[in-house]
């Protein structure tokens, strides 16, 4: 367990030393969501209707930005080999990497989303549901993304390939995540969507580190 915490601490420490990477993804999220009203028009009713979808798609793309670097630096400098050779099972260490990725790319989005939601005229209840949905959904994005990042490790054209592999798998997260907010706005209650999102998160938390580990071992061979 200490080793997992060490992995998380190291990744956070590294991110603090090169802040620009984390901030770039955040600014990307802010800019993309702000561009939509400019493209669509300032009509509040319309903006309110598209807000959940826009915020979620932007969150999806912002998470994608950091994915490729998830294992690339560790692969290049040999840290990944040391992780494989550590007495701690690789699956746990990979879980630590995924957790760190979420703290750096998902958690800031969760915290930032309500501010951006205000741009779209969402009420307080909807903002709460949006945050909750992102809180459940962004770890799911990191977990699924890790599989793709491990599969494309060290390949030419890895970045584009990664999005081709991962984005279709993000569809359920997008649907339930954005759907939760829409359902709340429509007065249907977001409970169903949120519990399905939680179920998917549990499923992914169980399988994704395992699949990522297998993919990493293949990439290292």
């Amino acid at each position: 367990m200490n080793a997992v915490l060490a992995v998380i601490r190291r990744d956070l420490l590294l991110a603090m030393r090169r802040k620009s990477e984390v901030l770039t993804a955040l600014f990307f999220f802010v800019i993309v969501t702000s561009l939509f009203p400019l493209g669509i028009g300032p009509e509040p009713a319309l903006l309110k209707k598209i807000a959940p979808g826009v915020l979620w798609v932007a969150a999806l793309l912002a998470t994608m930005l950091g994915l490729q670097r998830m294992f690339a630096a560790d692969h290049a400098d040999g840290t990944l080999e040391q992780m494989v050779l550590s007495p701690t099972p690789l699956g746990l260490l990979v879980g630590g990497k995924i957790a760190a990725h979420w703290m750096l790319s998902g958690l800031p989005l969760v915290l930032l989303a309500p501010v951006l939601g205000l741009q779209f005229d969402l009420d307080v209840g909807a903002l709460g549901v949006l945050m909750l949905a992102l809180l459940l959904g962004t770890p799911l994005l990191s977990l699924i993304g890790a599989i793709g990042a491990a599969l494309t490790l060290g390949l030419r054209g890895g970045g584009v390939l990664l999005s081709l592999l991962v984005l279709p798998l993000y569809v359920p997260a997008l649907i339930f995540g954005a759907g939760a907010v829409e359902a709340h706005i429509a007065g249907l209650g977001a409970g169903g969507h949120l519990s399905l999102l939680a179920a998917l998160l549990a499923l992914a938390a169980f399988f994704a580190p395992w699949a990522t580990t297998a993919a990493l071992r293949i990439a290292l061979e």
Binding site: T79, L85, P87, T88
Partner: protein, 201 residues
């Protein structure tokens, strides 16, 4: 004791070596030599378990390392081509985080002692990217002092080191062997460490 039985290695479509047998016991070390591309690094990667052998077995104290898993890796220290050193972190942080990855906390005192032994006094807190190539290598080699491992597997440990550091490392390997440790390393130069055997690939 590490023993190898009928080991073969296939990379892509090429067979690098086949039917390799050897054993390394306490206090012994093995010098793996061969031309570029002969499979030295592949052999080391097989030994630590980063690659699966095409044929043959690697045993630690008589048991296959595949079944031992972490019970084997606990006794193992592998230093590869790449530094596994993070440029943005200081030497001290690198050393301590590497130990934590192995599950042991490393006190400041022993970490600093290890760095000083490798002549990095006064540079412990500096981000590693400000160090020279040889100094970076020394940060990595400080792991040899801080990790308690029976079996050292070192890929070209002498590259980028000056004469003083080479002597220091040789002495360190000598001490390790005297304590009943084992070492397998690749290197192009001959080494003045007693108890060694050569393996030509």
């Amino acid at each position: 004791m590490l023993s190898i039985h009928g080991l073969s290695c296939v990379r892509g479509e090429r067979r690098l070596f086949a039917g390799l047998d050897f054993a390394v016991g306490p206090g012994e070390w093995l010098h793996v030599r061969g031309e570029n591309g002969a499979g030295k690094t592949s052999l080391l990667r097989l030994l630590v378990g980063l690659m699966a052998p095409a044929e043959g077995e690697i045993r630690w104290n008589g048991e296959n390392v595949r079944t031992l898993g972490e019970d084997y890796r606990r006794h193992l220290l592998f230093l590869g081509h790449h530094g596994a050193v993070k440029e943005e972190l200081s030497a001290l942080e690198n050393l301590q985080l590497a130990s934590q990855l192995d599950g042991d906390a490393l006190a400041d005192r022993s970490a600093l002692a290890a760095l000083h032994r490798f002549g990095l006094k006064g540079r412990e807190e500096l981000p590693v990217r400000f160090l020279s190539a040889g100094q970076k290598r020394r940060v990595l080699l400080a792991r040899l002092v801080t990790k308690q491992a029976k079996l050292w597997i070192l890929d070209e440990p002498f590259t980028a080191l000056d004469v003083k550091a080479v002597d220091m490392l040789s002495a360190l390997i000598g001490e390790h062997l005297a304590d009943g440790g084992m070492a397998i390393l690749t290197s192009h130069q001959a080494m003045p460490i007693p108890g060694g055997r050569e393996l030509q690939l």
